[in-house]
């Protein structure tokens, strides 16, 4: 800030801090609530207990939702990483006709409102018999994760000097060998970051899942449907576990990217 009197500066600080508090107040509320001993949603909690965690871990429906969420997120994120990684490499290493359109197509699931993707996939999957199937769920989550993988990896591959690969080729390494032994080790932190982003995006996905999953229950889908019916404090325990999981994953990404000097304050 240039110049400005003390009052103006203080006003900006108050507005800024209020904005930040508004932003993180949900997270600050949910965590202590999850350790509450009371059934009612009183804040601050009247006493502390782990009963809502016990309720969560003791409920086979939550546990089976957890297993589905984890397996769908694991398979779909790896699939997105594999296909997205190959495509990002192809896009950055050769001029292709219609490159812009192809890349736009890969990023489109992020731009098109998710509710439209949900409607379209519901109708499309109903037509080809994938509605309510595990395969359909995994494929849908893969498509939704692809934009994140493409965005992270196209930037990383562009920043990787192609001459290093050319050296490997000139020494007789095959293309596949070069990718595995030269490109991948160098981009490992970015690949890992892309994988984490894809995993989180699948693990948190609720809209498309709610439309197409049929009888399959994931953690977010179950949370959503419980929230609409009644307020059950078990949700606070699930929410706190999700926050902890997300923070750990983001911290891992931050540490990895910092090591490669690629951490920027503007990065999402």
């Amino acid at each position: 800030m240039i110049g400005g009197n003390a009052l103006a500066r203080r006003l900006v600080a108050v507005a800024g801090i209020s904005g930040l508090v508004f932003l993180i107040v949900p997270l600050l509320i949910v965590v202590p609530m999850s350790f509450s001993s009371a059934r009612a949603l009183a804040f601050p909690p009247p006493g502390l207990s782990l009963r809502w965690y016990e309720a969560f871990f003791g409920d086979p429906r939550w546990m089976s939702a957890m297993a589905t969420s984890a397996s769908v997120a694991f398979v779909s994120s790896l699939l997105a990483l594999l296909l997205g990684g190959l495509a990002a490499y192809g896009l950055r290493r050769a001029p292709i006709r219609g490159e812009g359109v192809i890349e736009a197509n890969f990023v489109a699931p992020l731009v098109v409102p998710t509710i439209i993707v949900a409607v379209a996939l519901y109708l499309g999957f109903a037509k080809i018999g994938l509605l309510g199937t595990y395969v359909g769920l995994v494929l849908a989550h893969t498509v939704l994760s692809v934009p994140l993988v493409i965005m992270v990896l196209t930037v990383a591959i562009r920043g990787f000097d192609v001459r290093i690969e050319q050296v490997a080729w000139s020494l007789g390494a095959s293309r596949a060998y070069t990718i595995i032994k030269v490109v991948l080790p160098n981009l490992a932190p970015n690949v890992f970051a892309a994988w984490i982003f894809a995993f989180i995006s699948s693990f948190d996905e609720v809209i498309v899942t709610n439309f197409i999953a049929g009888t399959w229950d994931t953690v977010p889908k179950r949370m959503f449907n419980e929230l609409i019916l009644e307020i059950n404090p078990t949700i606070t325990a699930v929410a706190t576990l999700l926050i902890a999981f997300t923070m750990l994953a983001l911290a891992a990404v931050a540490v990895l990217l910092q090591r490669t000097g690629k951490l920027r304050p503007t990065m999402l």
């Binding site: 400005g4 500066r9 949900p26 192809g90 006709r97 439209i116 809209i207």
Partner: protein
């Protein structure tokens, strides 16, 4: 490498996208013009203008989205401006605090507002204890609650790019204005603010597009009383199956979203250049 090899790298993903994304969207576009008796019809679009329920949902979607976007601008601009004035270390902390909620499940963030805004919630008990109100204010299960929740969920989408754009404003430009005798207020309104307007507009358009398709927050905080386009689509698909009607509404929403996205790209390019 030759283009033919590159195409080999790209085609597996391209095939997946065509089958699981492009084809369903095209099928949906077609279904919106498909008559139950078979053949082409525009009746599903005609219905949108005739049935008042659709117009009502459209109206409340636009109203909530617009107010949530304006709230985002009013909260987000001062926040980004304040972050710019911090030390680099404090900036990184502030950015981390903005990014974390962005990655935390939208369900968690929406749920918390029930605790904060409910009749026995923090805000109401505080106001009652302070003697400012006698009856709890009804924040939940109306448009007010939905708007607050959406503004909260969307704020990082506005703040992060806006903050990045503000960092790019050269301090020497501001110093030059100061050295020519401009008072702080003039420097802000005549120099700094105009330089950040494209980023602000781009961020606001992005928030507006996302608001139009919002589903989770209105469903939870609106409690069946606030219907936005997405909740209407949910009903038309999952409760009273009227797939053709749902397709027509989705198509319309898609066209509007893509048009606004084009405007967003225009302003975003001006920010980058």
């Amino acid at each position: 490498m030759p283009s033919r090899t590159a195409l080999g790298f790209i085609s597996p993903l391209l095939l997946l996208m065509i089958v699981v994304f492009d084809a369903p969207i095209l099928y949906m576009l077609g279904l919106g013009f498909w008559s139950k008796q078979g053949g082409f019809t525009a009746e599903h679009y005609g219905n949108l203008l005739e049935a008042t329920v659709y117009l009502k949902v459209l109206g409340s979607t636009l109203r909530v989205s617009l107010i949530a976007t304006i709230a985002n601008v009013l909260i987000g601009y001062p926040l980004a401006y304040w972050m710019r004035s911090l030390s680099p270390r404090a900036q990184l902390m502030a950015v981390a605090l903005v990014i974390t909620p962005f990655w935390v499940s939208i369900l968690v963030r929406t749920y918390a507002w029930i605790v904060v805004l409910g009749n026995g919630g923090i805000v109401n008990s505080a106001l009652i204890n302070l003697g400012l109100i006698d009856e709890p204010i009804r924040f939940l299960y109306n448009e007010l609650g939905v708007t607050i929740g959406m503004a909260n969920v969307l704020l990082p989408f506005l703040v992060l790019p806006l903050f990045a754009a503000m960092l790019r404003v050269d301090n020497r430009v501001l110093q030059a204005a100061a050295s020519l005798g401009a008072p702080a207020r003039t420097i802000f309104w005549k120099v700094f603010f105009p330089l950040t307007v494209p980023a602000l507009l781009a961020g606001a358009l992005l928030v507006f597009i996302l608001s139009l398709g919002f589903y989770v927050t209105p469903a939870i905080l609106g409690g069946n009383r606030v219907s936005m386009i997405s909740n209407l689509l949910d009903k038309l698909i999952n409760e009273i199956p009227r797939w053709e009607q749902a397709s027509a509404i989705s198509t319309l929403l898609l066209v509007v979203a893509l048009a606004i996205f084009a405007a967003y790209r225009y302003f975003d390019r001006r920010v980058q250049s």
